[in-house]
C-alpha cells in the first residue's frame, strides 16, 4: 500500500503539472488572438500584431513559475513541465513545413546563402563565445540559435550537446528579444537602402531567427519579399538536422569524450537527437504528399497548427522551469556574443542577398 501510494503521487503531481501547462497555454493562445484584435485601429496596433505567441507563453510561464514557487508546489509539479518533449514533438511536426521539392528546384541561391551564412555566423559566434569564456554547451546553443533558426535550432542543439534547461531558456529569451525589433527594423532598413523585393526577402529570411517573425517581417515588406524570405528560412530550417548531427559528433568525440571502451559509433548514437529522424521523415512524407494529393496544403496547414500548439506548450514550460541563478552566473557575456553575432548576421546576409538574388 505504502509503495503504491509512493509511486502514484509523482504521477498525480506530474499530471497536475501538465494541467498547469495546458491551462497557461490556452491563455497564451487566447491572448495571441485577442490582443491584436483589441489593439486594432489604435496606436498600439503594430505592437499588438507583432507580439506573437512565444512571448505570451514565456511570460505566462514565468508568472506561473513565480506563483507556484511562492506557494511551494513548483518542484512537486515540475514532472509535468516537459519542455523537451513538447518542443521535440513540435520539431518533428516542423518537418512537414519543409517541401524538399521546392528547395531542390527553386532554392539554389537560398541553399548557397544558407550554407555560407550558417558557417560564417556559427563560426563567428562560436569563436567569440570561446574568447569570452562561455561554457561550451551555452555557446553551442547561442551559435545555433543565431546562425540557423532561433529557438528551434537552440532546442536541436540542446538535444545534441545535452545542455541545461536554463541555458535553453536563456537562448530562447535572447532570440525573442532580438527578433521582435527586427520585424520592424529590417523592412524599414530595406526600404531606406532601396533594396528590391527579392533581395529584401533574402535578407529578412537569412537574418531573422524565428520562422514566425520572418513571416511577419516578410508580410510587412510585400508579397514577393515574403515568398523569397520563406524559401530562405525553410532552407535554413532544413539544415537544422545537419548542424544537429555535426554538434552531436563534435561533443561526443571531442568535448565530452567518454573513457576508452565505449565505441565512437555508440557514443554518437547515444547522443544523437532522435527527433531529427522524425523531422526528416515528416519532410519527406510532406513532400510526397504535396506532390500527389490535390488538397495536400490544407492537411499540411493542420500539421502547422499542431506544431504551433506544441511550441506554445514548450514555451510555457520554459517559463515554468526557468531559474535565474544560471543567468546571473553567465552575466552579460552571452548577450554580447549574441548581439555581435546578430550584427555579423545582418551584414553578411545583406552582402549574400545582394550577391545571390
Amino acid at each position: 500500500m505504502a509503495t503504491s501510494e509512493h509511486t502514484r503521487r509523482p504521477v498525480l503531481h506530474a499530471a497536475l503539472g501538465v494541467a498547469v501547462v495546458l491551462a497557461l497555454s490556452w491563455v497564451a493562445h487566447h491572448l495571441s488572438t485577442a490582443v491584436p484584435a483589441a489593439t486594432e485601429g489604435t496606436a498600439l496596433a503594430g505592437v499588438g500584431a507583432a507580439v506573437e505567441f512565444p512571448v505570451y507563453a514565456i511570460l505566462l510561464g514565468l508568472l506561473g513559475n513565480a506563483a507556484l514557487g511562492a506557494t511551494g508546489v513548483r518542484e512537486r509539479l515540475s514532472g509535468g513541465f516537459r519542455t523537451e518533449f513538447f518542443i521535440k514533438t513540435g520539431l518533428v511536426l516542423l518537418g512537414a513545413s519543409i517541401n524538399l521539392r521546392v528547395i531542390a528546384s527553386a532554392a539554389g541561391p537560398a541553399i548557397a546563402q544558407s550554407v555560407v551564412l550558417i558557417c560564417v555566423v556559427f563560426g563567428f559566434s562560436w569563436w567569440l563565445g570561446g574568447r569570452l569564456g562561455l561554457e561550451d554547451r551555452l555557446r553551442a546553443l547561442l551559435s545555433a540559435a543565431v546562425a540557423i533558426c532561433g529557438v528551434s535550432a537552440a532546442i536541436a542543439a540542446a538535444g545534441a550537446v545535452q545542455a541545461k534547461r536554463e541555458q535553453l531558456a536563456y537562448s530562447a529569451g535572447l532570440v525573442i528579444a532580438f527578433a521582435l525589433p527586427s520585424i520592424f527594423l529590417l523592412p524599414v532598413a530595406a526600404t531606406a537602402l532601396g533594396l528590391d523585393p527579392a533581395v529584401t526577402g533574402a535578407w529578412i529570411g537569412g537574418n531573422i531567427d524565428t520562422t514566425a517573425a520572418v513571416t511577419a517581417a516578410g508580410t510587412l515588406a510585400g508579397e514577393e519579399s515574403l515568398q523569397i524570405a520563406t524559401i530562405v528560412k525553410v532552407t535554413q530550417n532544413a539544415l537544422l538536422g545537419v548542424v544537429a548531427v555535426a554538434l552531436t559528433a563534435y561533443f561526443a568525440l571531442r568535448v565530452e569524450r567518454r573513457p576508452v571502451g565505449v565505441p565512437a559509433a555508440r557514443q554518437l548514437w547515444d547522443r544523437f537527437p532522435k527527433f531529427v529522424l522524425g523531422f526528416l521523415a515528416t519532410s519527406v512524407a510532406a513532400t510526397v504528399h504535396l506532390a500527389h494529393a490535390p488538397g495536400g496544403k490544407a492537411a499540411i496547414g493542420v500539421v502547422n497548427d499542431l506544431r504551433t500548439w506544441f511550441l506554445v506548450l514548450a514555451f510555457v514550460s520554459i517559463g515554468l522551469e526557468f531559474r535565474a541563478s544560471a543567468l546571473k552566473q553567465a552575466g552579460w557575456r552571452p548577450v554580447g556574443v549574441f548581439a555581435a553575432s546578430t550584427a555579423v548576421n545582418v551584414l553578411v546576409a545583406l552582402g549574400l542577398a545582394v550577391l545571390l538574388f
Binding site: 493562445h29 495571441s32 488572438t33 506573437e52 505567441f53 516537459r82 523537451e84 518533449f85 521535440k88 514533438t89 513540435g90 520539431l91 518533428v92 511536426l93 512537414a96 538535444g159 545535452q162 545542455a163 541545461k164 534547461r165 536554463e166 547515444d270 537527437p273 532522435k274 527527433f275 529522424l277 522524425g278 521523415a281 515528416t282 512524407a285 510532406a286 504528399h289 490544407a298 492537411a299 499540411i300 496547414g301 493542420v302 500539421v303 502547422n304 497548427d305 499542431l306 504551433t308 500548439w309 506554445v312 531559474r323 541563478s325 544560471a326
Partner: protein, 39 residues
Amino acid sequence: MGEPPPRNRGISEDWLAVVVGLLLFALALAGVIPPGLAP
C-alpha cells in the same frame, strides 16, 4: 552548487516525441484532425 543536474531523460523523450509527432502528422494527413486549431 545548487544547480539542477543535466537532463538525463533525453533518449526516451526523443523517441516519444518522434512517435507522437508522426502519429499526429498521419492523423492530420488522414483528415482526422480538423483545421483551425492554432493561434
